[in-house]
């Protein structure tokens, strides 16, 4: 195996890893904020991809331009899901953990079913985008432009999140609510508002990922499932609630997945990631940077 | 009564981060006595209590039960050996009935459900909750929940019963009934260690008192001697809480 070929694998693993991190961070944020795992996260991603597809179809604009609109739509979706569903799930006194799991799982099935019904199971993809199908040649290493874009966007998003959480009032409210849900009411922070905005933000983040993925990935009702498990693994590996953890874990997952293809057939590429995940969790039950 | 202390703490230390909650405590609990563990807020009573119960491990030192080193043993194992405890804020199993709650404890000694349940019913009668056997635990009044805590612990047939502020916040008549129960328990041969704040009730009840202050033992002896100890008075006054 040539150095170039090896670098190729590393580079694409790194880029994909950054994208995985982007997919996962919304999930981690929501959990860190309110102890709820959104098992419909994959379906959110799927909806964002379809939204991008639909907008491209109707406006004939490039996904790169439409991404902000997709993000806005997803934000609204996140808030709506919180207000209409999650808020009630959190009130459960009996088996709260199980209620959340199955309420969001039910939602996932519902969204999948609706997507299948309205969009049909056909695979779709967006043709003729600015970045689609083009690669950058860096000294013999070929990097697809959509993935480069995705990686760059991911880094920008993490930077933005860092700024949001440490420098803005909303960010501080997020952190405060995370630390002590009960006490924040006493300082005038409306818990419901923070949760709703948190869900909006979480959905918006996965919306960015969806818009990016739509550039180069096939879109179909089950596509959420493909990425969902990677997202859960990434979040759990990084530690639920840790944004930095999501970034680090995402990159690790991307790299391990890519490196696994060097030793195992492509159909088994996930085994490397899954095994690593299990190994880490059995040694460190709360993930790399989690607090449990 | 055998001479080996039922509990023997040597150099027991526990810190939480930078805070030293228990600092090299030596303590013996005599078989069959009622021992009061008292002291102002932050003295380290609850910590020592939890260390003996096995809720968390010591940072240093040893604890022996009946002559046997139990320092590394977890709470469940200590219960099997004969140490039972209650919680300050009652932790009843709310999805179960009163008798089912107590049956959980009885299973340590009785394998079959019929025997365990029979034992549970006996214990409920003993503590005075016999008529509430099939009531849901969640529906009990707070003093009743305290009794349930004690009943559950007693169902494990302990040699040592650790009571965590079991008399705090009760009305005088409720407290008097509680004191009667504790005396009855001691009479049956169980050693009792109580952490308490309510001095007026506790002092007439306990055989011996150990006063903790800032993580160390400050004084120890008969209640009437301890309350007149100058160091004890100073420690409590410093906390705006007078010994009776």
């Amino acid at each position: 195996m040539t150095t170039q070929a090896f670098l190729q694998v590393i580079a694409s693993g790194l880029l994909m890893g950054l994208i995985y991190a982007l997919i996962a961070v919304g999930l981690s944020l929501i959990f860190g904020l309110m102890d709820v795992v959104n098992f419909a996260h994959g379906e959110f991603l799927m909806l964002a991809m379809y939204a991008t597809f639909g907008l491209v179809f109707t406006t004939a604009l490039d996904p790169v331009l439409l991404a902000p609109l997709v993000v806005a739509l997803m934000f609204v979706l996140g808030v709506a899901v919180y207000a209409g569903i999650i808020r009630f799930a959190m009130r459960a006194k009996a088996n709260p953990g199980m209620v959340q799991i199955f309420a969001t799982f039910g939602l996932a099935l519902l969204i999948q079913g609706l997507a299948q019904y309205f969009f049909t199971p056909d695979y779709r993809n967006i043709a003729n985008t600015w970045l689609g199908g083009k690669t950058l040649n860096l000294g013999g290493v070929f990097l697809p432009w959509p993935q480069i874009f995705g990686g760059a966007v991911s880094l920008a998003v993490f930077g933005g999140l860092y700024w949001l959480i440490t420098r803005t009032d909303f960010g501080k409210a997020l952190e405060a609510t995370r630390e002590d849900q009960g006490a924040v009411a006493l300082v005038g922070i409306d818990r419901n508002r923070v949760f709703a905005l948190g869900w909006g933000l979480g959905a918006a983040l996965v919306g960015i990922a969806g818009a990016v993925l739509a550039i180069f990935y096939y879109i179909h009702p089950q596509v959420g499932g493909t990425f969902a498990l990677i997202a859960y693994v990434t979040v759990a590996l990084g530690g639920f609630g840790s944004i930095f953890g999501a970034l680090v874990a995402g990159v690790i997952v991307g790299l391990v997945e890519a490196l696994t293809t060097l030793i195992l057939p492509a159909s088994l590429k996930s085994i490397g990631v899954y095994s690593l995940y299990l190994l880490v969790l059995f040694i460190r039950p709360s993930g790399l940077f989690g607090r449990l | 009564m055998s001479d080996t202390p039922i509990i023997s703490c040597r150099g027991v230390t526990r810190h939480f981060g930078g805070l030293v909650a228990n600092d090299s405590i030596d303590l013996d609990v005599r078989r069959g006595e009622i021992l009061g563990l008292i002291g102002p807020n932050g003295a380290g009573k609850s910590t020592l209590f939890n260390l003996i119960a096995g809720a968390f491990p010591v940072s240093a030192g040893t604890i022996a039960f009946d002559g046997r080193d139990i320092t590394p043993l977890p709470a469940a194992k200590r219960c099997q050996l004969g140490i039972a405890r209650t919680y300050q804020v009652p932790r009843s199993f709310d999805s179960m009935s009163v008798v089912e709650n107590v049956t959980v404890g009885a299973f340590v000694r009785y394998a079959g459900v019929l025997q365990a349940r029979a034992k549970a019913l006996d214990v409920l009668d003993y503590v005075g909750l016999g008529n509430y056997a099939d009531t849901s635990a969640a529906d009990l009044t707070p003093p009743q929940k305290r009794r349930l805590e004690v009943a559950r612990a007693l169902a494990t047939e302990p040699k040592l019963l650790l009571l965590d502020e079991v008399l705090t916040g009760l009305t005088p008549s409720e407290a008097a009934a509680g004191v009667d129960l504790i005396r009855k328990v001691r009479q049956s041969g169980v050693t009792v260690v109580m952490v308490e704040h309510v001095m007026e009730v506790v002092m007439p009840l306990v055989d011996r008192a150990v006063v903790l202050h800032l993580g160390k033992t400050l004084a120890e002896g008969l209640p009437r001697d301890v309350v007149r100890d100058e160091k004890v008075i100073a420690a409590y006054l410093g906390d705006r809480h007078r010994a009776a």
Binding site: V99, L109, L110, Q112, G113, L229, P285 | V104, L114, N131
Partner: protein, 335 residues
């Protein structure tokens, strides 16, 4: 006074248990009459699958509902049972009865081995780990040539016989087997609920620390739950293989089976004796009918109905549908 209260409480208790048992036996006997009334092959298939999933969900419920460990990876054990039974029969000629037992034991051992590290994981971490483990299993079987890899295993066509558990024309024997499996899982649950483990599981679910202070050794009882649950799930998988006579990784180890085993319990009432059966009675026929009559699984409507149902029940009545019917005291005792 106190003696008679104690005695009457005990008598009520024993009488209550006896009543539950008799009701169950009557229900089983009634269900056994069904094959005489139903001749339509399609209906029989649906009913057999309903009974099978009632049994599977009942086993899942031991670990998930009573013990509180929500496994979303039970498809692994189902698949192990299916493959063990199929391989032993097709490659070595061993009767499926032996295969079922072997598969069950194998699954139980694997559950113990996996339980050892995974029970340290809390809540969602545990559930996700179970999904990942089952995925690994699925991927491995997809690539295991000895077991047919993606092509799977086909059972040879043989004449009807109880020895090979193959009945081509009259499906009634499959029905009786599935009923038997359900009855066994129900009885096992019934026995465990009022036993040391049953009490310990409920105690841990309510308040783990208090339970520990009462001598409850959580870990061992979870391991026991996992092993028993895995055993019966694998037996169900082995039966399924005999029933459909052809298996491949996606048909027995896919994630949707994990959901299909958990959802009936959630719907009917987690931690209740009849909850999984009631849930299965609703979900399985629903799945089959929507699949056949609503234009196949391509339409997605079955998912819409499932998903919607699960959501509504989780949000409005997390104790499950059965709690609408039972009196508050009874449902509290069962939860």
């Amino acid at each position: 006074m106190s003696v008679s209260t104690a005695t009457s409480s005990m008598t009520t208790f024993v009488a209550g248990r006896r009543r539950q048992l008799i009701v169950a036996l009557v229900v089983f006997a009634l269900i056994a009459l069904v094959p005489r009334l139903v001749s339509d092959v399609y209906m029989m298939n649906v009913l057999i699958l309903t009974l099978l999933f009632a049994a599977l969900s009942q086993s899942w419920n031991l670990l998930g509902g009573y013990c509180g460990q929500v496994s979303l990876g039970h498809a692994l054990y189902f698949g192990i049972g299916a493959y063990a039974t199929s391989l032993l029969y097709v490659k070595f000629g061993i009767t499926p009865w032996g295969g079922l037992l072997a598969g069950g034991i194998l699954a139980a051992l694997i559950a113990l081995a996996l339980g050892y590290p995974s029970f340290r994981l809390k809540g969602h971490y545990f559930s996700i780990a179970t999904i990942v483990i089952a995925e690994i299993g699925l991927l491995l079987f997809h690539n295991w040539d000895y077991a047919g890899a993606a092509l799977g295993i086909q059972w040879p066509f043989t004449p009807d016989s109880w020895w090979t558990l193959q009945f081509a024309r009259n499906k009634a024997p499959y029905f009786y087997f599935a009923l038997g499996l359900f009855a066994v899982t129900w009885l096992v649950t019934f026995a465990i609920v009022e036993s040391k483990w049953g009490y310990w599981w409920r105690a841990v679910k309510d308040n783990a620390d208090a339970a520990e202070s009462l001598g409850v050794t959580i870990f061992q009882s979870k391991m026991a739950a996992a092993a028993i649950s895995a055993f019966f799930t694998a037996v169900g998988g082995g039966f399924y293989a005999a029933f459909v006579s052809y298996i491949d990784p996606d048909s027995v180890m896919h994630f949707r089976f994990s959901l299909l085993m958990a959802l009936p319990a959630v719907l009917g009432g987690v931690g209740s004796l009849w909850g999984p059966a009631v849930g299965a009675l609703i979900l399985i026929p629903l799945a089959e009918f929507t699949r056949s009559y609503l234009g196949g699984s391509g339409s997605g409507l079955d998912l819409v109905i499932y998903g919607g149902l699960v959501m509504i029940v989780s949000l409005t009545r997390p104790e499950g549908i059965l709690s609408f019917i039972k009196s508050p005291a009874a449902s509290r005792a069962a939860t």
